[in-house]
Symmetry: C2
Amino acid sequence: APILAGLAQALSRGDVKVVDLTQTLSEDTPLLVLPEPFGQTAAFSRQEISRYDDRGVAWHWNNFTVGEHTGTHFDAPVHWVSGRDLPDNTVDAVPAANFVAPVVVLDFSRECAADPDFLLTAEHLKAWEAANGPIPAGSWVLFRSDWSKRDVDAYTNRREDGAHTPGPATDAIEYLIARDVLGFGVETIGTDAGQAHLLTPAYPAHTLLHGAGRYGLQCLQNLDQLPATGAVLVCPPLKIRGGSGSPLRVLALVEA
Amino acid sequence: APILAGLAQALSRGDVKVVDLTQTLSEDTPLLVLPEPFGQTAAFSRQEISRYDDRGVAWHWNNFTVGEHTGTHFDAPVHWVSGRDLPDNTVDAVPAANFVAPVVVLDFSRECAADPDFLLTAEHLKAWEAANGPIPAGSWVLFRSDWSKRDVDAYTNRREDGAHTPGPATDAIEYLIARDVLGFGVETIGTDAGQAHLLTPAYPAHTLLHGAGRYGLQCLQNLDQLPATGAVLVCPPLKIRGGSGSPLRVLALVEA
Ligand SMILES: Nc1ccccc1C(=O)C(=O)O
Ligand SMILES: Nc1ccccc1C(=O)C(=O)O
């Protein structure tokens, strides 16, 4: 078994490192807030069952409540109406092979620092490919904005007219689907820009990715620890029956 | 980057397969039931936020409630009083490298079919090692009982005097800790046997593994798709701040 034996040895020697791309999930996890009268995703909350006490003499454990789309989370195609009737469109039905795959990281952190409403376009992707090679079919694509380094108010960046956070333009998403990527991941709260309700179609990442059976990842961090190409993403959502998404632990395998 | 490029190629060619070891998480997921007056882990339940309707015109999503130890789940050392004061004893603090590691699978399904109270002993482990080679330090160890193939009543196997399900004897856990394994995973509802309150110490897997800073995995399935040695386990719990455990998706990478 040469591949996996080599991987195991590289992991034990530290030649391959495991990088955690996940925000901590807690009562303080920032949330998407939609305008009235739409329903809202739940903040993380927990109920203690026992803590080495008369409710459980030797053990500590909790129950918790959370949204399928709270914190670092996975979006399945059924999350959007465009993906409603696709096969294998829920987190329990997505093929497991899609949870372990090559990843490319697009660093547009400089542009996002200059403009919180920065839109990643197909032109940007072509320029990135000219420098880094083509985005491979079957890979995950992560958009590095350095947004995860912001404190919570600057992270959500909400104003009177909604959130001002970077995201993809419609033609960038069309380009990625044509490249046959598995999914698109971001550091911000949505795969779409904060002002993406103004784009055509509204919410192009959600509408087009999920309509094409592709996936989303949100609220990632530590993308600055990944190379542009060559890492492997590990992003297995909970196996919720019929689930539209789920909080998850996202890891990357990175060669030293 | 030879290791990860080779892994990516093997995954895309199907030379390495991703096997899902996770039970589906739903309102029907079987639960541990403790005697009165102890607190109980919550069944999975969900609250619909919207389904392409006036609560969310283009999107479907849910909130959900679940126990940290409901369904296929990870046990961190803080879950047991013996691990209460250890460093990095919660799911958010466990080093990420421990979530991607070699795995050995101990097939005692025949013995478990013959005796639902089968106890895996150090003698069994020595016999297994004589046939398969030593259990490597830094690996996960999974106990195949074929319990996951049972229907729900035979799976929980509750009688007047409690559950009758297989698990490890005290000396097996001592032996695995001496081998310096990362953790121990099972198909049944607990890492301990159903009658483990009668052992010395009570609940030896929980008491000794967590006291030694090791981890547990429960409610696994598809262990019959894994080789005895040579696979790599992927078992990243949710990054719950201070969490004692969490439901998770467990995958294995298996060479074809
Ligand atoms: N943008 C949205 C609009 C409505 C519902 C959810 C979203 C998300 O971003 C999400 O998936 O977290
Ligand atoms: N055996 C137990 C006794 C008390 C609390 C939890 C357990 C578990 O098995 C668990 O971790 O699911």
